[in-house]
């Protein structure tokens, strides 16, 4: 049933400008202030300019929400709502719940709650999990995907290290009643004095007892902590992106590599090498794995783990014989802040079970231009990359070249997949939530 209430000129415009995706039952509504909405069950319309994003052909994007604040990780409910974790409180609240009552793709703030800042947010079996920089909380969800106890969640983990640097606690859940929490190392390379020229690397690195790894806790116990958590994997400097691969039933993570090779060791590295090394890495994690930080870093040019200069390295000597190798090595410093295995059916077959990674964008490449500030895709087969990574969504920064991080208007930070297979990307500069849809036939 169609009801057109706009002029043929607008109609012509619409055709040109709007990519319509998956029509089922349609009713167009044009309202007084000239913003045209398409009200269709189970479908949305991309913005004329794809919300400023550059996407592979056949894809479109729209702004699902805007100006939310510092939107870090996001998670979609089965019903299509989205929970957003904020890094700074807005009106005293740190979690925003967005819903889309009329299904036009524009989401509205239904409620906000949680009086703590943080990054991690996840859903498993009718529970919402969210982290501050020290604790992890869980909330009950009702049949609509709405939190029933916003003001009195169960605190399942408490007292994790919050030493400012790398303090965000990303979280993900498995299918066996466990939650995995990243505890980033509050350090660049475990020097006696952090980031200071001439300061030695501590051996063994004492930080690894309490950080620089992934800890495993039970989903349903109150106030767990270091005393009863399991250090599931170590030697991971700072993991911000992590996901549970359902096909492999296994944890995968993306790590932020070390900084400042040139600043700390100008005799060994120049500014160009320092901008290009070390790799940002993705690992497949088995219980007990050690990825080698701080003793080694990965070099994607030499394709090996290289001994850190703080531990006697010279940029060539290999190290970390017992440490695992990454399954993907990206260019340096791009800051992989979110990892998501795509399980939906909306995107073309090549994307199924592949990985999306949201790169927050670099700062540590100066004086060279910065890199990242985009979402990449890596095809996967049987839990292993089956091709090269490629930029999937670019244009977040709103500028051709990002000289300095301050230039970027938006920075990708979180990813989630909607129940219809749309990919949502959060931005923690302006608090924009992008929705990417596939709209080619």
């Amino acid at each position: 049933m169609f009801s057109f209430v706009f002029s043929s000129q607008i109609q012509h415009h619409m055709k040109k400008m709007f990519l319509i995706f998956l029509l089922t039952s349609i009713s167009f509504v044009s309202n007084a202030n000239d913003s045209i909405k398409v009200n269709i069950t189970n479908q949305v319309v991309a913005n004329a300019d794809n919300a400023g994003l550059i996407l592979p052909s056949g894809f479109g994007a729209l702004i699902a929400a805007d100006n939310l604040g510092r939107a870090r990780h996001i998670v979609a409910t089965k019903q299509g709502g989205i929970y957003v974790k904020l890094e700074r409180l807005v009106g005293g609240k740190g979690i925003i719940y967005l819903t889309d009552a009329n299904k036009d793709g524009k989401m509205e703030v239904e409620t906000s709650f949680g009086n703590y800042i943080g990054t991690g947010i996840a859903i498993k079996d009718n529970y919402l999990y969210a982290s501050s920089n020290e604790d992890v909380f869980r909330y009950q969800l009702n049949e609509n995907g709405k939190v029933t106890n916003p003001d009195n969640p169960q605190r399942i983990v408490k007292g994790l290290w919050d030493k400012r640097q790398h303090a965000s606690k990303s979280i993900v859940l498995d299918n066996a009643g466990n939650i995995y929490v990243n505890i980033g190392a509050p350090s660049n390379s475990c020097q006696e004095v952090d980031r200071t020229k001439g300061s030695k690397g501590m051996y063994p690195c004492p930080i690894l007892d309490s950080a620089g790894g992934i800890w495993q806790f039970k989903v349903d116990q109150t106030d767990q902590g270091y005393h009863n958590g399991v250090r599931y994997a170590t030697g991971l400097r700072n993991v911000v992106g992590l996901d549970w691969n359902q096909q492999q039933n296994k944890l995968y993570v993306t790590m932020h590599g070390r900084d400042m090779l040139y600043t700390l060791y100008p005799n060994l590295f120049d500014t160009t090498v320092s901008a290009e090394l070390p790799s940002e890495t993705m690992y497949e994690i088995n219980k007990g794995d050690d990825a080698g930080w701080p003793y080694v870093y990965y070099d994607h040019f030499q394709k090996k783990k290289v001994l850190s200069p703080e531990y006697g390295g010279d940029g060539k000597k290999a190290g970390g014989e017992k440490a695992i190798d990454p399954i993907v090595a990206f260019p340096a410093h791009m800051a992989p802040n979110a990892l998501l295995f795509y399980t939906g059916d909306q995107f073309p077959a090549k994307y199924k079970n592949g990985a999306f990674v949201a790169f927050h964008g670099s700062w540590n490449r100066s004086p060279l231009p910065q890199e990242g500030y985009y979402v990449v895709f890596i095809p996967f087969e049987n839990g292993k990359p089956s091709g090269q990574w490629e930029v999937f969504a670019n244009g977040f920064s709103g500028t051709e070249v990002v000289k300095n991080p301050r230039d970027a208007k938006h920075r990708p930070c979180g990813l989630t997949e909607g129940p219809d297979g749309s990919l949502y990307v959060s931005d923690d500069v302006k608090g924009t939530i992008y929705r990417i849809v596939y709209n080619a036939k």
């Binding site: 980031r195 020229k197 300061s199 040139y262 320092s274 991080p405």
Partner: protein, 142 residues
């Protein structure tokens, strides 16, 4: 006794500079100091604070326009360079998560130079920092 004599000398020497803003006479001095300071800045500070002093949102504060950088509390500035910074403090209404490197190995001259560079580059303009001021400040920093 010797120590007090030494201190007195510093006070006399430094006061000669302290009261002098950037006058025509001190122009070549500050120019030379800033040129040396720039080299130190590019090696030691640029990674975090960026070539143009713009910093990185929420990680490393901008130096361009920063009230402390342009301000008169030179002791504070010298302390920051020597000791680095690892505390959560509010800087011009914002908080930053990174740790700043310590620079215990920089000489008084080098510290004065890098401070003169950041205090008078980009949009910043401030009085000259003398070697004597750095020397005096260092004795107060433990």
């Amino acid at each position: 006794m010797k120590y007090f004599y030494f201190l007195g000398l510093i006070v006399v020497l430094s006061s000669a500079f302290v009261s002098s803003p950037v006058t025509n006479q001190s122009q070549p001095i500050i120019k030379a100091s800033m040129d040396r300071g720039k080299i130190i800045y590019l090696q030691r500070c640029m990674a975090c604070h960026q070539v143009d002093g713009s910093g990185g949102p929420r990680l490393n504060p901008p130096l361009d326009g920063a009230s402390t950088v342009k301000g008169n509390d030179k002791l504070k500035l010298v302390r920051i360079i020597i000791k680095g910074m690892t505390e959560r403090v509010e800087i011009d209404g914002e908080y930053y998560d990174n740790n700043m490197s310590a620079n215990p190995d920089l000489t008084d001259t080098q510290i004065a130079d890098v401070l003169n560079y950041i205090r008078n580059s980009w949009g910043n303009k401030a009085s000259i920092v003398t070697i004597a001021e750095v020397k005096a400040a260092r004795t107060k920093i433990k």
